[in-house]
Amino acid sequence: MDEGAGTGRGAGPGAFARPGPVERSPLVEGVRAYRLIAGMWIRSTMAYPASFAMTTLGNFLATVFDFVTIMLMFGHVDVLGGYSLPEIALLYGMAATAFGLADLLLGSLDRIGERVRDGTFDTLLVRPVPVLVQVAADRFALRRVGRIVQGLMVLGYALVVLDIDWTPLKVLLVPLAVVSGGAFFGAVYVGGSVVQFFAQDAAQVQNSFTYGGQTLLQYPPSVFARELVRGVTFVVPLAFVSWLPALYVLGREYPVALPEWVAFLSPLVAAGCGLLAGLAWRAGLRAYRSTGS
């Protein structure tokens, strides 16, 4: 599918501008580089098709087990923290899909500490491609699509089963929150990778915020202590990924008193976090000292 998009490009209005060095914006250049590197890794993974099939299925199953756990819980109870299974499925589907997007595109960033340690990070610095793009696309794993597929399936189930009083705003909010949530988790990945510049073995801390954040958001806020809910609303604004938008859609009250329109702030929160992460990345890259290995 990537290849098709690539060949189509020549037919556009820009086709006449060639040859000669074309002035492209750094963003376009970055996306192009990402696609090239990712495409290369996809082709290399396909060298072992059986293994690819198994790992994709495995990735899918690993996330399915998350939801199976919740279903097994509901084999014993009718509500958890006052929420029914379809309601929790909505929270779960939004959080899992959002995280899945970030994991697919930026999941490789958690290997940055390893690269700093073994010295291969230094080779990325001399190439004429943004370092962030190189690390993010490195070992691009298409199998991570499994997580998105599973998230969307649970989300679909929730939307079909739930009896929601739909308004145009609610219809808009669900995809908006999912994409913003993906961007938010992406910012967490970038921010976490900056920490790894300096603490190379600390990739695990990142997992607490990415995988841990997703796990937290799978369950309704009523399950957790009030202080924890406040923390993930105001300090690490995870709540904007799924809790606040989903509770608005469900017409339920948020345990921390907030005006209703806050549910629509997800894109702003994501943009703010993205900006912070970007600045941290620049500062981190400038302060980076090679280990010399």
């Binding site: 495995g58 014993h76 695990q204 997992n207 399950v223 924890l228």
Partner: protein, 266 residues
């Protein structure tokens, strides 16, 4: 014997070197411990005595899961990736040339690794959990002793499974798929996601009979005082039985596999 003691000590020291990773791991285990503990609190407040546990026992189970996650390699991880790579590249020929048995060598190293992970990454989250929640810690020293025996057997069964997984590399070009399946079975059937006594009907019976239940479910039940007297003997025998069967299977597979090794000079 002394050789393997040295290898075990080496396994311990090797993992002790990664101080930052250990701290990061403790942090992660603690975060997950808190998240899961809250969900279990919600679950048990709906249905007290679910699966025969009271709330304190259920919460203890959560923190045990975090403590044993690395100790018993519930989701894999440890030597098997390394060993697979050695088989793939042919470095395994050097290992086979050594005056030590392959399986015993790796078992010793893995016991050292487990000991470090128990002390380094298990005890601290458990202590934090006990500080934040009302946990059901054993009072009798005999329960602690029985737990340590059960835990050791759990590590051995886990090793035996992962050794078999690693040897699959002799027949496969790329071991990623097998590692992933091993990860999944460990995740689901060890009882990490949910205690196996909450699994319904036949699924529960099968899950409790499989070797993965020896990783976490059985040691946890021993710790929680759910297995006493002859029941305790039965639990330890269950673990020892699986350890024996799987170690023997590994031994057979190892001898079949080593006959396949073709050393290409150069």
């Amino acid at each position: 014997m002394r050789l393997y003691a040295v290898v075990a000590a080496g396994g311990f020291r090797r993992h002790a070197t990664y101080r930052m990773a250990t701290m990061a791991g403790i942090f992660t285990n603690t975060v997950f411990g808190f998240i899961i503990a809250y969900t279990y609190t919600a679950l048990w407040s709906e249905r007290p005595d679910l699966g025969g546990y009271d709330t304190a026992q259920a919460l203890t189970y959560v923190w045990l899961g975090q403590a044993l996650l690395m100790t018993c390699s519930l989701m894999g991880g440890g030597f098997e990736g390394d060993l697979m790579e050695r088989i793939r590249t042919g470095d395994i020929a050097i290992d086979l040339y050594r005056p030590a048995d392959l399986q015993c060598w790796y078992l010793a190293g893995d016991l050292g690794r487990a000991a470090f992970n128990f002390l380094g990454r298990g005890v601290v989250p458990m202590a934090i959990g006990a500080f934040a929640f009302d946990l059901a810690l054993p009072v009798s020293p005999w329960t602690w002793l029985a737990f340590l025996v059960s835990l050791t057997l759990g590590v051995v069964v886990s090793f035996a499974v992962r050794f078999l997984v690693a040897l699959a590399a002799f027949w496969l070009m790329d071991g990623a798929g097998v590692l992933q399946i091993s990860f999944l079975t460990g995740l689901f059937f060890s009882g990490l996601l949910l205690p196996l006594n909450l699994f319904p009907g036949l699924l529960g019976e099968v899950a409790r009979a499989l070797p993965w239940s020896a990783f976490l479910q059985v040691p946890a039940d021993v710790f929680l005082g759910e297995r006493t007297g002859w029941d305790l003997v039965g639990a330890l025998a269950f673990q020892a039985g699986w350890a024996l069967v799987l170690l023997l299977a590994g031994r057979v597979l190892q001898s079949v596999a080593t006959r396949r090794v073709v050393v290409q000079g150069g």
